[in-house]
Amino acid sequence: MTGDTAILDANLGWMILALFSVVWVWLGWWLGRRAADLEGFMLAGRKVGLALGTATAMATWVTSNTTMAAPQLALQMGIWGMVGYSLGSIGLILFAPLARRIRALMPNGFTSGDYIRLRYGHTAWRVFLGISLFYAFGWLVSLGMAGGVVINALTGIDYHLGMSVILWVCVAYTLLGGLRAVIGTDFLQSLIILTGVVILAFLALDRVGVEEMHASVIEERPELLNLLFPAAIMFLFNNLLFGIGEIFHSNVWWSRAFAFREGVGFKAYLIAGLFWAPVPIVAGFLALTVPALHLNIPAADMVGPLVAGKLLGEGGAILVFIVIFSALASSLDSLLAATSDLILTDIYKGHVRPQADSAELARAARWVVLGLGLLTWLLCWPRLTTLAELLYFTGAFVASTIWPVAAGLYWRSINPQGATLAMLAGTGIGLASYFLIGFYVAALVSAAVSMLIVLASTWLAPRSFEWGQLNPQPAP
């Protein structure tokens, strides 16, 4: 994907970037101006309501990948590509009861790392931090790179400039307003993303129609409409487990469970999951209009923007640019904030400065956001690998945490050794299957291995855990 595919004038691209950058940064400052203390900055005061809670869960899960890769997958794997992608919503839906449980068991918790440390001890905690930080950096770098690549592809603006703008804008408003800024901007971004995707879908249905779409795909690429496409079905299950692993372990979702008002977590994640599920189908089916529109697609991941450009001309290009910019920002800011929390609480306080008090941590929180932004920027600069490769590589890591995280919230008898081994062996064997078989089985194998180890170790050496141990001390 290069600037050769540009569907928008670079000057217009700069104007849109500048406008939205000013809006997000101002909004971040305005929303976060009263978030001075640590809980205010990290967890928005633990009082986030249902509307903002639902919107932030949806917007964070709609990444540039959802809007760019869903059409790409539909183009490569057909119906199952987009339906498989939509199964990512199962992770959000299944996290709904977990969010309620987390809030009840850990009313003063800060991060997912807190939970693993208190539930399974220091060894499991360090293994978990390794997995979680690897995933977080993988996602951060892939998002930062996607920003640069997409802006370059849509407008011809240099990759390094586009990547720097989107990354530093997100760093700026996260720095100014913490989680309040992230969640507040997520609300507007989710409205923009959903409205934009629906406009494009209605246009595609109006201009092409399902009958013509179906007939032209049958003529040129009939396998895309085949319901028995083996690799695609494998992808479907892998993506399901990948999504569950991503959400269950990541501090992005745990920090929200801690930040939501009591009684909000379950409803917010459930509604967000139900409304997120059709988004990849709506974004994805645009790819099925390609044969009918007689489009030449130079790069599979550009199919969404090219269809939009064809349907709406310059207006479509502007719309898709705004949607993708919002989708990128809504995920990047959440990940910056949640990863910073993990580094601050579990690395800085957990390993470097255990004696740090709340005031010191509140000061350090801003420096951590800044440092993380700088590190991400440096890692994104060389543009080392493609977005999809980096993201699927982490599937083996995150899927190994599903069982230790979820079962540990409900079953007293899970033991720390079993949980640690499940994460290590699940990751190792999942990675081996990634290289030996393919990306589409890594999460599947990792989750299966992890499940077997958790079940066997619990059966062999059950332990009785006291739930009160998850809420031992007041806020750090």
């Binding site: 509307a51 903002l52 949806m58 959903l194 249905l205 009958e211």
Partner: protein, 40 residues
């Protein structure tokens, strides 16, 4: 086994209508939260 036109239409149209409803639901939730003083 190829998906039929009608099944494809149901899938796409239903998905589009649900996504179209989402922003409205978010705005309604926002109004309700605002009235109850539960935005933040």
């Amino acid at each position: 086994m190829i998906i039929s036109v009608s099944a494809l239409k149901i899938l796409i149209v239903t998905a589009t209508l649900v996504v179209a409803a989402a922003p409205l639901i978010l705005l309604i939730l926002w109004v309700l939260d605002k009235k109850g003083g539960k935005i933040w």
